[in-house]
């Protein structure tokens, strides 16, 4: 597979980032945020969007200095081979852990909602095989797939909007009752669901557009995701009583549409859940892609596809470890700081470092 065949367009980049950001969290995000920020959860979500936009600027700035190198190539260049490789490995591991957490949460929800008796490893395996298949052919076909399945997001919005007919706007009031630290704490929860834009660090060399266009693309994606999430949060806030009820329902969006029936279809939640599977598949596919890309660049192999089965195996093992809600929390506690390290701190440090060392890729004029 040569590099030119593996390019994606700027528009495809938008959808890739959107699909990377929107993932398993969409179902539980309103619950998680509302648990802390109550009726002000939507403010937290917007703040989280703004916060991730700030990180996006840094990431973009870093990429702009190395327009032809992905982070896996930047690391050894800036930090030296040994330290760089250690970081590559840890990035790769980080993506594995995050990805397998997503996988575990996916199978947990499937287990709770549709297939309580099917062994979890089977549903996980099914998901992993699908993701391997999506990812293995290269970026172009991944991007095509992501664009193709994006209309699903609109269907989800439409389904949720339908449920709005029974909403009670009063639940949103009083606005801003909670203190700013509480709201910020809520946005921390929301921010975890917004992760995924770091994909840009790794695929930006393959995008056929100028640096500015890339920034526009990734900002568009982030804005869309923020609006999408905010809509979902507001929808569940005005549907559920924000103090007790929403705390009782871990997947408020599913609950919301569970009762609605159309002429030919009842139990809309099953339909919603089926569509949601596609969204989850795209985000797991992303983690798979990133971690196997990391391993590939560690051993300097051109193509990552042969690492996919190995990585998928690791995912499966990791995802089978936590088996209860409590384990997720512990998992999340461990993972929380690592999110900051890998998504915020390291890119920022690298960005600063690239100025200090005045290392910059020599841009070849083509």
């Amino acid at each position: 597979m040569n590099l030119t065949a593996n390019k994606i367009t700027n528009k495809q980049l938008v959808f890739m980032i959107i699909q990377a950001q929107i993932g398993v969290g969409i179902l539980s995000l309103p619950h998680d945020v509302a648990l802390i920020a109550k009726q002000d959860a939507w403010i937290s979500t917007i703040i989280a969007g703004v916060f991730s936009q700030a990180i996006i600027f840094v990431i973009w700035g870093l990429c702009r200095r190395f327009p032809d190198l992905s982070l896996y190539q930047i690391l050894p260049k800036l930090l030296g081979r040994v330290f760089g490789k250690i970081l590559i490995l840890s990035y790769s591991l980080y993506f594995m852990v995050t990805g397998s957490l997503v996988l575990a949460r996916y199978s947990d929800i499937i287990d709770k909602w549709i297939l309580p008796l099917t062994p979890n490893w089977i549903t996980m395996l099914l998901m992993l095989l699908t993701c391997i298949y999506i990812v293995s052919e290269g970026l172009t076909s991944i991007a095509r797939f992501y664009v193709l399945v994006s209309p699903i997001l609109i269907v989800l919005v439409a389904l949720i909007s339908y449920a709005m007919k029974d909403a009670n706007l009063l639940y949103l009031f009083p606005i801003g009752e909670h203190s700013i630290p509480t709201i910020l704490k809520g946005s921390k929860e929301a921010a975890f669901s917004m992760l995924g834009f770091e994909l840009f660090l790794f695929i930006h060399p393959y995008v056929q557009s100028s640096g500015k266009e890339k920034l526009v693309a990734i900002t568009t994606a982030n804005m869309f995701v923020t609006i999408f999430y905010t809509f979902m949060v507001i929808a569940s806030l005005i549907f559920f009583e924000p103090n007790v009820d929403i705390a009782l329902t871990p997947e408020p969006l599913l609950y919301m549409i569970k009762a609605y029936s159309f002429q030919v279809l009842e139990r809309t939640d099953l339909f919603f859940l089926s569509l949601w599977l596609v969204i989850v598949a795209t985000s797991i596919a992303n983690w798979l892609l990133l971690s196997s890309m990391g391993l590939a660049s560690l051993v300097r192999k051109k193509h990552y596809a042969r690492f996919l089965p190995i990585v998928a195996g690791i995912y499966l093992v990791l995802a089978l470890i936590p088996d209860q809600g409590k384990d997720f929390e512990r998992f999340n506690q461990v993972l929380g700081p690592s999110h900051y390290i890998f998504i915020v701190i390291i890119p920022v440090l690298l960005f600063i470092l690239s100025f200090i060392l005045t290392k910059k890729e020599v841009v070849k004029k083509v």
């Binding site: 549709i114 298949y133 797939f145 399945v149 009842e266 599977l277």
Partner: protein
Amino acid sequence: MNIIFRGIKRHIKKDFKQVPSNQKSKPFVGVFTSIDENISFIKNIFSCSDDLIIKELNVRNKRGILVFLNTMTDSDKIQNNILSPVLEANGDQLDSVLKSKFLKSDNLIKAKEELLNGSCIILFDRDQEFYRLEVAISKARAVIEPNNEQVIKGSHEGFIENLLINLHLIRKSIRTPDLIMEHLSVGEHIQSKLTMVYMKDLANKEIIKEFKRRIDYISMDHIPSIGSLQELIEDSTWSPFPQILSTERVDRVIGHLNEGRVAIFMEGSPSCLLIPVTFFAFFHSPDDYNSRWMIGTFIRSMRLMSIAIAVNLPAIYIAVIGFHFEVLPDDLVLPVVSSIRNIPFPPLIEALVMELTIELIREAGVRLPARIGQTIGIVGGLVIGDAVVRAGLVSNTMIVVVAITAVAAYSIPSTEMSDAVRFLRFPLMILASTFGFVGIVFGFMFTLAHLCRLESFGTPYFAPWAPFRLKDLKDTFIRLPLWKFNTRPLDSNPKMLRKQSLSRGWKTNESNRE
């Protein structure tokens, strides 16, 4: 597992990788000076086959021979076109007759090929050249409408087994010097004639090059049919979807040529291959363009809906009955329950039995002569359908589902695509019976991912949906009015994107005048 397979693949590649056979440099055997030597050479090549006729021919004391295969030539034509002019020519006229009527050549290998194509050869003593003239029997059937691709309105011409006539049909419709026909031949031992037809100013060079490259790799003794050729050159054989469109309709080929695609004909085959194509080309019928655009759009969207039904409906039914019957609306629950209550089999078995029965009925009907075919239809459709329900083996609702699926699958205009779609529903049914809706979604994702990966001669197969191109949607799901088609679709990478400017410009001009 992937690794293993990759390994095998590489292994296979290593084993069979070979230099492209160089057809261009043909062996050369010059014409011998002695006529007897020539005779024995030719006899030797054809191993004294009984249909090889060599006749002595003395014209003005010059000894000559007339060679032809009487199984390939028309004796009337030999009499009228060769013998009478040559024998009647007196004096110096002979040379001019020979020059004007015959083609000259000096390679005996070429002579062999020409004999096999139905030519007649004249050799004269002490001449280093021979003369040849095509006098082949033309036993072509009439140009009639192909049975499997009928239309209501529009041209009723279809290709036949004769390459020349097929090319004639194309050339007749596209009278421009830009139409290029390139002859190729494939097959190591028995060569088959191929002709590649394209528009010089539209067709993408890369595709033509890629096609020739793939043809060069073919090292089979004999290409039995155009179907085998298709399998040898298509991108991915591990796919149920056809990646090359084969059609027997002249107007369809012309339409595709004008969009910059390349058509491939093969001697002896009434179908024509079109490359590159997209998924949606298989759902088009010339009828769409001959009827009004709104109706065309409606019919076309119905067809696309029919794939969705044909692939998913049995699977969804199984999932609903076996897993999530709560999705059924209240008023439907009791009727469904009452029909399936006493069925002894799980839904998957029930569905498989019925689906396979339908496939068998189809298969039985295809091969049988039309009169018996009807009987099969009645026995298969009516008797089995009715009896199976009465016997309580299969539920009423299942029969409804299976029937709708069958109708939907057969409404797809291309038989290959229809086969693919009918095949696809079996894995989906199995997935549905194991995981319910979840299984269907995974099957669906697999199919979509597969469609996104497929390419047909370098162009994405699922265009214009993946990669998405809004402009090209005008002629896929829907058919907008023709005057909207200002650009050609991008998927065939045409050199010239622009197709027309304002074709209905008269309308705006008119209003300006007033």
